[in-house]
């Protein structure tokens, strides 16, 4: 366990599946150099196959006795999908080999191949919701535990899980060990790579690209021990944000506000069945464990309270009025960490999100 833990909360009631986070991440980190197929951030349709294909059935994580479980390493072509490119050369008009403009490979699978399919029968009771996923920067990471080279570490200062690319020899046990399949093999450099929680941005006072760009403002970022951070309030005070698949035993640090709202079902005549809901609670229980019941109850109670009285701190938080409140990056803390490590702390790029447990009033150093 690290000294502090930076965490993210994602409000699934508000995710519209626009993939802006995915693109923000891709253009920042994974559009080059053997990472083309990787999505450190992806948004999948649930229920669905997910990314990589059927990741929940590929093993990894820990059993109740705390023993790491064996897992399967997904195949690039069959499970992730080959990122295709086009023969741009064919567009040249004087090209004697004039060919059709086409992908270099015939795609057979890719992320979101089953986007918006969901489950149930249209129009009576079909349903789905979006599940954005990044590395969970677990407190007990499966990837770290699987590495026979001790090449994966969890940063003391914020719990970000990183790969030491110098020690990594490309054995890929980490991929088998991660139950979320959020660590990837870069075949070009034969090493594993993963979401870095945009640590170079965070240290400079900017939230991760996926969170900053989110148009639905579903993502909150902050330290779990910062009592004023909205992340702390959502996770520890209201307990409405829960880790994904807590049964994997890795203690994930990306928390989800479960979807509470879904339309009613239709009967055979196409009429609304009053009081029904399309989203089976069993599915949410599978994803978030038994605590999902309490979270949904709190959310519903607070919604009601807000409707009746106009006051609810929880609803105000979830409305996400201000980025400055949603992201508390405690940047002066990172400056102190840099000083402790005898490095020269750089002034933050952006001072809007400085606040945090260790940030004293009156600005940065």
């Amino acid at each position: 366990m690290s000294k502090r833990q930076l965490a993210m909360v994602m409000d699934l009631n508000k995710c519209i599946g626009c993939q802006t986070c995915t693109v923000a991440c891709k253009t920042q980190w994974t559009n080059r150099n053997g990472r083309e197929y990787m999505y450190w951030n992806n948004v999948e349709t649930y229920p669905g196959t997910g990314y990589p294909k059927n990741w929940m059935e590929l093993g990894g994580g820990f059993d109740a006795a705390g023993d790491l479980q064996p897992g399967v390493i997904p195949n690039l072509e069959a499970d992730y999908g080959v990122p295709w490119d086009y023969n741009y050369e064919s567009l040249k008009t004087d090209n004697p080999d004039h060919k059709h403009f086409q992908p270099h490979t015939s795609p057979t699978w890719g992320p979101n191949w089953d986007e918006d399919e969901g489950a149930g029968a249209f129009p009576q009771d079909n349903y789905f919701f979006y599940l954005p996923r990044i590395c969970n920067h677990c407190t007990n990471p499966g990837c770290l535990s699987a590495c026979p080279r001790d090449a994966i570490f969890k940063r003391e200062q914020d719990g970000v899980v990183l790969v030491d690319l110098d020690r990594c020899q490309g054995y890929r046990y980490c991929i088998a060990g991660c139950p979320y399949k959020k660590i990837y093999f870069n075949p070009k450099i034969s090493k594993s790579e993963k979401c870095i929680l945009c640590f170079p941005r965070i240290e400079q006072g900017l939230p991760p690209a996926c969170a900053q760009q989110c148009v639905g403002r579903i993502r909150f970022v902050g330290f779990l021990d910062d009592l004023d951070s909205q992340v702390h309030k959502l996770v520890n005070v209201y307990k409405v944000a829960i880790g994904l698949r807590p049964d994997y035993g890795t203690q994930p640090n990306v928390y989800y506000v479960p979807p509470t709202e879904s339309p009613a079902k239709f009967d055979a005549e196409g009429k609304i069945i009053e009081g029904s809901t399309r989203l089976p609670i069993e599915e949410l229980e599978k994803l978030f464990g038994p605590e999902v019941h309490g979270a949904i109850k709190t959310l519903k109670d607070e919604m009601k309270k807000r409707k009746e009285t106009g006051v609810s701190e929880l609803m105000d938080i979830l409305i996400a009025y201000q980025h400055a409140d949603m992201f508390r990056l405690d940047n002066n803390y990172y400056q102190d960490v840099a000083k402790e490590q005898k490095r020269t702390p750089l002034a933050p790029v952006d001072t809007r999100y400085l606040a945090g447990k260790f940030t004293k009033a009156g600005g940065h150093h």
Binding site: R32, G34, L68, E89, L144, S145, Y173, I189, S190
Partner: protein
């Protein structure tokens, strides 16, 4: 030089019966190990390589493929001149597996040669699996890879972009592709120093001048390594202990999924051999294996250790089902009476947190195994004799 070397050596894998202990190898004295005319003088010796089963890794598919892996034979030969030693390894492999840099699930064939490092004062040989605390090893690793672009450490950041994002087209793009291809790294060769599993660290400062290569001939590989007899890590003379490992990419082998030999004595021809080491590595235990088996049952060894494939797997302690194949008798003796002398680091401690193999006491690793120094010498020898029988058949 290695390309020339391997091109005319036929594989010549001999059928042989499984020998109880590996014979010593004679490294012939030549005027220059890089002179190909000398290769005909090398005498090859059959060495058995056993599947590493002390710990089981967490890759389901790879474990299934390796469930019934048998021991394999390799032909090992050596020569030396005044400065360098060359070790040549030939082994059968029906498929040529190279890592092509395009997919997430292929693995390459490879081989490694391990040397014992310099220690302070007289020490027993390092633990076969990457050495042990205070008893370092130097491992030369060679893997079969296709051209892979590895930009790390070369400062060519401008080349780290997708070709479609270069902003150039046509001829200039072709030039970009050619430049990138020219930067590709083909020879996956590594030198590591280690004091035990997990501690392995790559030597990147060029302080080991070695030349390693492998090439595929009909149904098998020929690999060679040339390294100095003396550098800051090793000092080789008289009898040189070496160990060999091979990886089979078609079985998803990498890291601990490999076949490895016990320490083999390589006598430098014309130099005074270390007779004690040769005796240790080439002669069988004088104990009685039948009595040893009974002693193991009486002492409850199988409470923690998997002894044979029939026993349940355990995270409590290293599996001993191939221990007779790759461990020396002196190591086995030592481990029974002084379990903390060499502590096999085993799993990442986070992976099986309830069954650590050792505890840290005042910074020292203390094995969780009971000390069996109360056993009589004869009993220990019987147990060693039995443990030496625990190994897979040779394919």
């Amino acid at each position: 030089m290695n390309k020339v070397l391997t091109s005319f050596l036929s594989l010549g894998i001999m059928a042989s019966c499984a020998l109880a202990a590996n014979p010593a190898i004679t490294a012939v004295k030549v005027s220059d190990v890089n002179n190909q005319a000398e290769f005909k003088n090398i005498k090859f010796t059959t060495i058995a390589l056993y599947p590493q089963t002390a710990i089981e890794m967490n890759d389901k598919k790879a474990n299934a493929l390796n469930e019934n892996t048998k021991a394999t034979n390799a032909q090992v030969g050596a020569m030396y001149d005044g400065k360098n030693i060359a070790i040549i390894v030939k082994w059968a492999d029906a498929t040529k597996d190279t890592q092509a840099g395009e997919t997430s699930t292929n693995y390459s064939d490879g081989f490694a040669v391990q040397f014992a490092g310099i220690t302070k004062g007289a020490q027993a040989l390092p633990y076969i699996g990457m050495g042990s605390t205070g008893r370092p090893v130097v491992v030369h690793l060679q893997k079969a890879t296709e051209k892979v672009y590895e930009p790390n450490g070369n400062n060519d950041v401008a080349m780290q972009i997708n070709r479609q994002q270069t902003g150039v087209f046509d001829k200039e793009l072709a030039e970009f592709d050619a430049k990138k291809a020219s930067l590709a790294n083909t020879n996956y060769t590594r030198v590591f120093v280690g004091e035990g599993f997990r501690s392995l660290t790559q030597v990147k400062d060029g302080s080991v001048k070695s030349d390693t290569a492998m090439s595929y001939v009909t149904n098998g590989w020929v690999g060679s390594i040339v390294r100095p007899l003396k550098d800051e890590y090793v000092n080789l003379s008289g009898t040189v202990p070496v160990a060999i490992a091979t990886w089979d990419g078609s079985k998803m082998d990498r890291n601990g999924l490999k076949n490895l030999s016990a320490w083999i004595a390589v006598n430098l021809d014309g130099q005074k051999a270390n007779t004690a080491m040769v005796a240790d590595l080439t002669t069988d235990s004088k104990g009685d294996a039948v009595k040893g088996k009974a002693a193991i049952e009486a002492n409850g060894c199988n409470g923690c250790h998997q002894m044979t494939a029939a026993d349940p797997k355990s995270f409590m302690a290293p599996s001993l089902k191939n221990v007779g194949g790759y461990s020396s008798t002196s190591y086995l003796r030592e481990s029974i009476v002084k379990p903390s002398a060499v502590v096999v680091p085993g799993y990442n401690r986070n992976a099986h947190s309830n069954t650590p193999w050792y505890n840290l006491e005042k910074g020292k690793r203390v094995s969780t195994m009971t000390d069996y120094s109360h056993l009589s010498k004869a009993e220990v020898e019987d147990i060693v004799a039995y443990l030496k029988t625990l190994k897979a058949e040779v394919e």
